[in-house]
Symmetry: C2
DNA sequence: CAGAGAAGTGGACTACAGTCCGGTTATGCC
DNA sequence: GGCATAACCGGACTGTAGTCCACTTCTCTG
């Protein structure tokens, strides 16, 4: 046990909740792109400085909004039932099955919040690769590709396919079903 | 023969050259990110309006600067010697060889101008997928993947790996050699 | 409860992308 | 050469991301 890490001040907590609330509403109503940070701040009854201090930038705000769902997915991967999670020791799924399950689950998540994820990945240059989430997915996929010549590199390649910016654009061309199929096919090719 | 398409006015041509010159120099000296459009305009002795009218946005300016090299690569693919190009009819390379050659050549091009390509792809949202170049690469790869279940979708997936933003980030993690190897391995897996 | 200092606040400020439009100039035609 | 007109020019203007810092508020300690 160590001394409690400095607790968040009450006013700060209140403001954070207000901002997340306001942002969620505004984004739903006008689309993520159609809402400026200033508008969010005003709607939350908070100064611009406060907003940026808390969330860093628009990507950070989007990330915060996704936090809950993202965590749920990560939990499911780490501790949940097979094939997404490791499952009970006596009946653990193959790496291939788990990879498949991960891609399906991630695509569900991504397609369900495409605009928000896209902002969280692109609002700041290189944002996608700096946030913890990417590292998590990358690590997971890397482990599932163990045995291949270069799992780390292959995991990056596979994840490139899941970049929100890419998915958004490709969706217009081939639609969700073919995108899904192609992603799974690619994973299959990598785990042969 | 049709009536000559309205020729570019002399002053416009002069200004365009001045802008490209100034931009090339400034970008070399201060990096692409470190130069504002206003600075480019000033250095070229041109108004901001002119700059934007001509090139649309920063992505457009970057694209224009890359134009020559990009065209060269496209020419080589369409008409050049094998294995990058189709080569003479009697000794045409396999699709697999051509794909391999394309990826090598594209990576050379990309790594040689990473910052510029990155701006051209990301300065405007979705820019990468709107410009003609992406369509060209996609079409080429699609043709080389003929016979697979869904060449169009697979080509998108393979090209995702070559997005400048992705490459820029991954480079820091695994370096150019492993990136190259992984890309080729992926292509191999797709043409088995 | 009082005082100190850390944490938080908000709005003025800067910098940059991109738009707009009244004025200018090249060009093709007579 | 002179004129009509379409193309072009440039800089003032707008909207937004993100920074800065003098001031306020909370929390902890004695």
């Amino acid at each position: 046990m160590r001394t409690t890490p400095p607790r968040e001040r009450a006013d700060a907590a209140r403001n954070r909740a207000a901002v997340l609330d306001a942002a969620a509403t505004l984004f739903r109503e006008h689309g993520v792109e159609g809402v400026s940070m200033e508008t969010v701040a005003a709607a939350a009854g908070v100064g611009k400085g406060t907003l940026f201090r808390r969330f860093g930038d628009k990507a950070g705000l989007a990330t915060a909004l996704l936090d809950t769902q993202e965590r749920a997915l990560q939990e499911a991967i780490l501790f949940g039932p097979a094939p997404l999670g490791p499952g009970p020791a006596e009946a653990s799924p193959s790496a291939r099955e788990r990879l498949h399950a991960f891609l399906e689950a991630y695509l569900d998540y991504l397609l369900g919040h495409l605009d928000l994820v896209r902002i969280s990945e692109t609002a700041a240059p290189g944002a996608r690769y700096r946030i913890g989430a990417y590292r998590f997915w990358h690590r997971h996929v890397t482990l599932l590709l163990a045995g291949r010549p270069d799992p780390v590199a292959d995991a990056h390649a596979l994840l490139a396919t899941l970049a929100a910016e890419h998915v958004r654009a490709v969706l217009d061309d081939i639609g969700a079903d073919r995108l899904r199929a192609a992603t799974l096919r690619l994973a299959a090719a990598l785990t042969t």
